[in-house]
């Protein structure tokens, strides 16, 4: 069990997301960086989709009320356990009373605190992700506050190895365009409804992630996108990654807590395999978009899957190696 000891905002319990309830108007929610969540869980021997705490604002401090193994993945910054430096993408054994402190990230923007066994909150509609609009799921359906106590499903001393790490996805699956972090995009239904100059600029230009960017949507700043003619769209289901272009021409990428349906013209969709890159792109940073095909999008999912399988395999080997005293 841990207690949040810093004043905090916007930190939420998330797992891989809530599926099967889109037809009730319930969006998927879930971690903005699904790879960081998966790796943190693998480091602890948790099910890959176990719930963790997603931390978008820093500093963030917790105290361990019980012995518990934990992992911190995602954004890398100055992290300490009782003052001792903690490396990124690392699993450790915490003792009762120890304080974990996460400072401002030097890379990435969202950190994930995973606990042994996963965060133990009741699943609602099949998931432990926080549904903020509906005020259910996660920890009492809300963002975490100072004083909150969260239980781990498997507290105590770790049976598996601790004190090691893995190469982060940002290293293993790096993707850049002219030195700028890049995401692959599949054109959507209204792609051709935008003038050719706008389409070309979308792929050629850097786009800035503005301050009005969060789990609901990322508002981008760049050359305004111009439709050939005004477009009225009937409300339809959408998924995280859909890039809508409302009046004004500045695109909004729908993210994990976006409405599960929308009525604005959609230019393209950031592919599922690259959503984690967006999740780690800090406010104020620039991104580029790469045109990709459906088969390439599936290949990208396979690349992610291969990375996780390799990480899982090496962790299993490490688990089996004879342990030496530390």
């Amino acid at each position: 069990m841990i207690e949040i000891i810093s004043a905090t905002a916007l930190a939420t319990v998330q797992d891989t997301g809530r599926s099967g309830s889109l037809g009730y108007g319930v969006g998927t929610s879930g971690a903005m960086d699904q790879l960081a969540l998966a790796v943190g869980n693998l480091l602890l021997g948790n099910p890959e989709g176990a719930a963790a705490i997603e931390i978008p604002l820093f500093p963030f401090e917790v105290r361990f009320i019980q012995d518990c193994a934990f992992a911190v993945t995602g954004a890398a910054g100055e992290a300490t356990l009782d003052g001792q430096p903690l490396l990124p993408y690392w699993v450790m054994q915490a003792r009762e009373g120890q304080v974990l402190s996460l400072g401002y990230p030097t890379s990435g923007s969202r950190a994930y605190l995973c606990l042994a066994g996963g965060i133990d909150v009741p699943p609602v509609l099949g998931s432990r992700s926080t549904q903020l609009r509906g005020e259910f799921g996660g920890f009492e359906g809300r963002a975490l506050q100072q004083g909150d106590r969260l239980a781990a499903a498997r507290p105590g001393l770790s049976e598996g190895p601790v004190d090691f790490g893995v190469i982060a996805p940002s290293q293993a699956l790096a993707l850049h365009c002219d030195g700028v972090p890049a995401m692959r995009v599949l054109p959507a239904a209204e792609y051709e409804c935008f003038v050719e100059d706008s389409r070309n600029a979308f792929w050629a230009d850097d786009w800035k992630i503005t301050g009005q960017s969060n789990r609901y949507g990322y508002r981008l700043e760049g050359t305004p996108m111009v439709p050939v003619a005004p477009i009225e769209i009937r409300s339809h289901g959408i998924v995280p990654g859909v890039i809508q272009v409302p009046h004004g021409g500045q695109p909004i990428i729908q993210m994990r807590d976006a409405q599960p349906s929308g009525g604005y013209p959609k230019f393209g969709t950031v592919i599922e395999a690259d959503l984690w890159r967006l999740g780690q792109a800090p406010v104020g940073s620039k991104v580029r978009f790469i045109h990709c095909s459906y088969p390439e999008a599936l290949d990208a999912l396979d690349d992610n899957r291969r990375y996780l399988e390799e990480v899982a395999r090496l962790i299993d080997l490490h688990r089996m190696a004879p342990r030496q005293g530390h």
């Binding site: 599926s19 099967g20 309830s21 889109l22 037809g23 009730y24 108007g25 319930v26 969006g27 609602v124 509609l125 549904q131 609009r133 509906g134 005020e135 259910f136 799921g137 599949l186 959507a188 239904a189 009225e232 009937r234 409300s235 339809h236 289901g237 959408i238 998924v239 995280p240 990654g241 859909v242 009046h247 004004g248 409405q259 599960p260 349906s261 009525g263 959609k266 969709t269 950031v270 592919i271 599922e272 395999a273 459906y294 088969p295 999008a297 599936l298 990208a300 999912l301």
Partner: protein, 218 residues
Amino acid sequence: MSEQPVISLLGSTALLFEAPGALALVPQQHLWNLALQAAQWPEIDEAVPGMNNLMLTFRTPPRDLVGLRERLLQAWQQSTPLALEGRIIELPVVYGGEHGPHMQDVVEHTGLDIDTIAHLHSEPLYPVYALGSHPGYCYLGGMDGRLATPRRQVPVLNIGAGAVSIGGVQTGVSASAGPSGWNTIGRTEMAFFDPTQNPPAILRPGDQLRFRIERIIR
């Protein structure tokens, strides 16, 4: 408006199927039937109706997209509209006043006065086409075309639960507080969603809503 359905991709996560023709109940019933079938297919995680369209989310995105498109078109062509039997639910609405902050915008756009707007809005029986937007929210068909008012240029950051609004040719009631780009003309009291219940949404496609004028604040 094309005569053929339009099928497009939402990344590698979902397929969007848009029915041709004007927005109407019969194509919606046809889509309910298509949704029931597609939901059984192994590649599909969920079949989510929208306003005369259907989103199919992938369980695992299929390599053979062409095959899936063909199967989808065939199922559409070979199936018929499915009239779902539902309940009729009546909602009392206070039109105008502080809970109808955009009533004046609708007045200006439509050229109608508040009383006419309230009466035209509360006259029809609205079929629930689909749920979406937020937990328990119903997309309704059948609004009188004279009330159509475009979505707002600048959405409102937080409109309360029970807000009765008009967006383009559609109308709806918000089930919880949140942002909205629609024009809010009134307020009703109703519980639309309970996550502890199964199903958690109180209303479903096939149900019908009637708005009753409780009060008009001019």
